[in-house]
């Protein structure tokens, strides 16, 4: 409970009236002072509220197609005593925008009363869990305020679209489409080389031996899945947004979900990691169970919360060390970061230098409205070029463009090692 202290000024009014009454010898004003004291006593009488609320969310369509409007009906029920001033703000998923109605409602709740309100959002591609609704409850005088979060696990699942092909056979899991630049025992021809003792008989190019009398060995491309770790920058510095757009962490998480889906479809081993209020790690893996686990992690892990961390910054260097300790050898890293400071650039170059191929997807949250914002945009461009100079490919993601298929190609371009 917090005290709003909004009635504090009325004590000053009472004292001013009393002082004037004394100086000017006016009993009437003393009664005005008494009136002021009555108002000063008011918040003491009304007492602090003790809310016991329950929230229920209903969707007109829980798995819509992108662009569909979904009506969200929120019902708040009072399961405690009388509440004179309840302000509810529903936790609309960060990436969805409200197109009709209002996700906010003020209500007076006597015991047992339920109040419903409806608003509409437009579905976008991806899975969009609702945040808990926030209720600010004040007593009738407004002097005491209690803020509670009302959770009701709901999400809009907008991932099953006609554009997505059916998943391929699971038996092929673990074999990547990423082309390996290394000869071994695969199927696709890679090169021929001089015979070395110990090479399998079946690999010797007998036609060539018949023609020239030289023993050569045929090599095939090795079939190998790429191991990719999607690393989301969810530090406090990354919680920034241009205007009314969703902040960079929300966009990074959304991009990570889409990359996760496409990388899984291509049978790569994908892991998830995040820097933020706490370190988040899911070891690379394949298969539908792993995909589901990764999605759940992206939706529920506290590091990806939609509000910035309140307390001081976590130890970034320690988190980098933990990540390096866990990254499998030769794992690629796709870093999703708005690049709002130099530490994350340093981290990317550091990981790259330690043999993990790093590529960066950077949601653009800069704008050109004030000189400070222009300066931030210039600094970000400098960081982008510093990364490119260091050989790290960077994809810039403007807020106006959707997270396109071109981006999904990116990890494949980098290639497996």
């Amino acid at each position: 409970m917090t005290a709003t202290n909004r009635w504090r000024g009325v004590v000053a009014l009472a004292l001013a009236a009393a002082a004037t009454a004394l100086v000017a010898d006016r009993p009437d004003l003393l009664l005005v002072a008494a009136l002021g004291v009555a108002f000063a006593a008011y918040p003491r009488v009304s007492g602090a509220p003790d809310p016991d609320l329950d929230v229920e969310r209903r969707l007109s369509d829980a798995s819509p197609r992108p662009g569909d409007e979904v009506a969200v009906t929120v019902t708040v029920t009072n399961e405690g005593g009388f509440l004179a001033d309840v302000r509810v703000v529903d936790g609309v998923p960060a990436l969805l925008s409200v197109t009709g109605g209002s996700p906010r409602r003020g209500m007076v709740l006597w015991p047992g009363r339920s109040v419903s309100f409806t608003y509409r959002v437009v579905a976008k591609h991806g899975r969009h869990p609702f945040e808990p609704a926030t209720a600010v409850v004040r007593d009738v005088s407004g002097a005491h305020e209690v803020e509670t979060r009302l959770a009701d696990d709901t999400d809009i699942d907008c991932t099953t679209t006609a554009a997505d092909g059916p998943l391929r056979d699971q038996t092929l899991d673990g074999v990547g489409r990423v082309v390996a630049d290394r000869g071994d025992s695969g199927i696709e021809f890679y090169r021929t080389r001089e015979y070395r003792s110990g090479d399998a008989m079946s690999r010797i190019d007998w036609n060539r031996y018949a023609r020239t009398g030289e023993l050569t060995t045929v090599e095939y491309r090795t079939d190998e899945a790429a191991t990719v770790v999607l690393l989301v920058d969810a530090r406090r510095e990354a919680y920034c947004a241009a205007g009314d757009d969703p902040h960079a962490v929300a966009r990074s998480v959304s991009a990570a979900e889409q990359l996760l889906a496409s990388l899984h479809r291509d049978r790569n081993r994908v892991g998830v990691a995040a820097f933020g209020r706490e370190f988040c790690w899911l070891a690379p893996g394949a298969g539908r169970d792993h995909l589901a686990r990764a999605r759940r992690l992206l939706a529920t892990h506290p590091a990806f919360a939609s509000t910035p961390p309140r307390d001081g910054a976590a130890d970034h260097d320690a988190q980098v060390d933990r990540l390096r300790g866990r990254l499998p050898d030769a794992a690629q890293v796709v870093l999703l970061s708005p690049l709002t400071d130099d530490a994350i650039v340093e981290t990317a170059r550091n990981l790259d230098a330690h043999g993990h191929h790093v590529s960066v997807v950077s949601p653009d949250v800069t704008s050109e409205e004030s000189s400070g914002q222009r300066l931030a945009a210039v600094e970000r461009r400098n960081r982008l070029s510093a990364l490119r100079t260091a050989g790290v490919p960077v994809v810039e993601w403007e807020s106006t463009t959707p997270f396109v298929t071109a981006l999904m190609e990116r990890p494949r371009e980098v290639g497996a090692t």
Binding site: D28, L29, A34, V37, A38, Y42, R105, M107, S141
Partner: protein, 246 residues
């Protein structure tokens, strides 16, 4: 650029078009509580003896100002600014009418601050930008309370109207502050009416109880008290107020 126009609620036509308009919460002081605050302030100024004509003109000026601000915030900058300017001119007229209607010389000290307070409160609750100003709400209702004190000193009104006007200034401040607070939390486009009514009703009830109690004790014959006993009562009130302040 803000899309916070009051008429941006999407229609069925908008729902049919592929490009849906995003609704943003209009974080301006809640309408009902703002209106109640202005009403309370006007009633207080009226009980202090301000000319009803001047108060009517003041109310009109706030209405015109609100219309202008609505246009202005709806990205019709020039017409909005012109209408708002007209509102300001009407407000100046209201002040002029107040001054003209004054009969005693103390009236200038009492009624001009009272009507100015009403106008300042109006400006606070129809903000050109931002979410409304708690500071201006306090200044406006403070001016009204100042008028109450001056009226008390000059003994220009009876005890009843004096207590009424004092209560009205507190209710106006409370409703104005509540309007700003609800506007910040929920915005103008959400259903907030019942919360505003409940809150203002609570404050009015306390005001009624306070006024009744004060009038009862006034009837006991407080005016016959000596200054020394008054001072003792004052000290008692002071300690009570301090105890509440802790």
């Amino acid at each position: 650029m803000s899309t916070a126009t009051d008429d941006a609620a999407p229609t069925d036509d908008a729902a049919a078009s592929p490009q849906l308009e995003t609704v943003s919460p209009a974080r301006q002081p809640a309408r009902l509580a703002s209106a109640l605050a202005l009403l309370a302030a006007i009633a207080g100024a009226w009980r202090l003896g301000a000319s009803p004509l001047a108060l009517g003109v003041a109310a009109v000026s706030v209405g015109v100002l609100a219309a202008g601000v609505r246009l202005y915030r709806g990205d019709r900058r020039l017409p909005g600014a012109l209408v708002a300017l007209a509102g300001v001119l009407v407000a100046v007229g209201a002040l002029g009418l107040t001054a003209l209607a004054v009969s005693q010389s103390s009236g200038y000290l009492r009624l001009v601050p009272a009507v100015t307070g009403v106008l300042v409160l109006g400006v606070a609750l129809v903000p050109f930008h931002g979410t409304g100003s708690r500071g201006l709400v306090t200044v406006g209702t403070g001016l009204l309370f100042l008028a109450v004190l001056v009226s008390g000193v000059f003994q220009s009104v009876a005890l009843g109207p004096l207590l009424f006007a004092a209560t009205a200034s507190v209710v106006a401040w409370d409703a104005g502050e509540h309007a700003v607070s609800v506007g910040e939390h929920l915005g103008r486009r959400s259903g907030t009416g019942e919360v505003e009514v409940a809150h203002v009703a609570g404050t009015v009830a306390v005001g009624v109880v306070g006024v009744t109690a004060a009038q009862l004790s006034g009837g006991v014959g407080l005016s016959g008290l000596s200054l020394a006993s008054l001072a003792l009562v004052l000290v008692a009130v002071l300690f009570f107020a301090l105890a509440l302040h802790e």
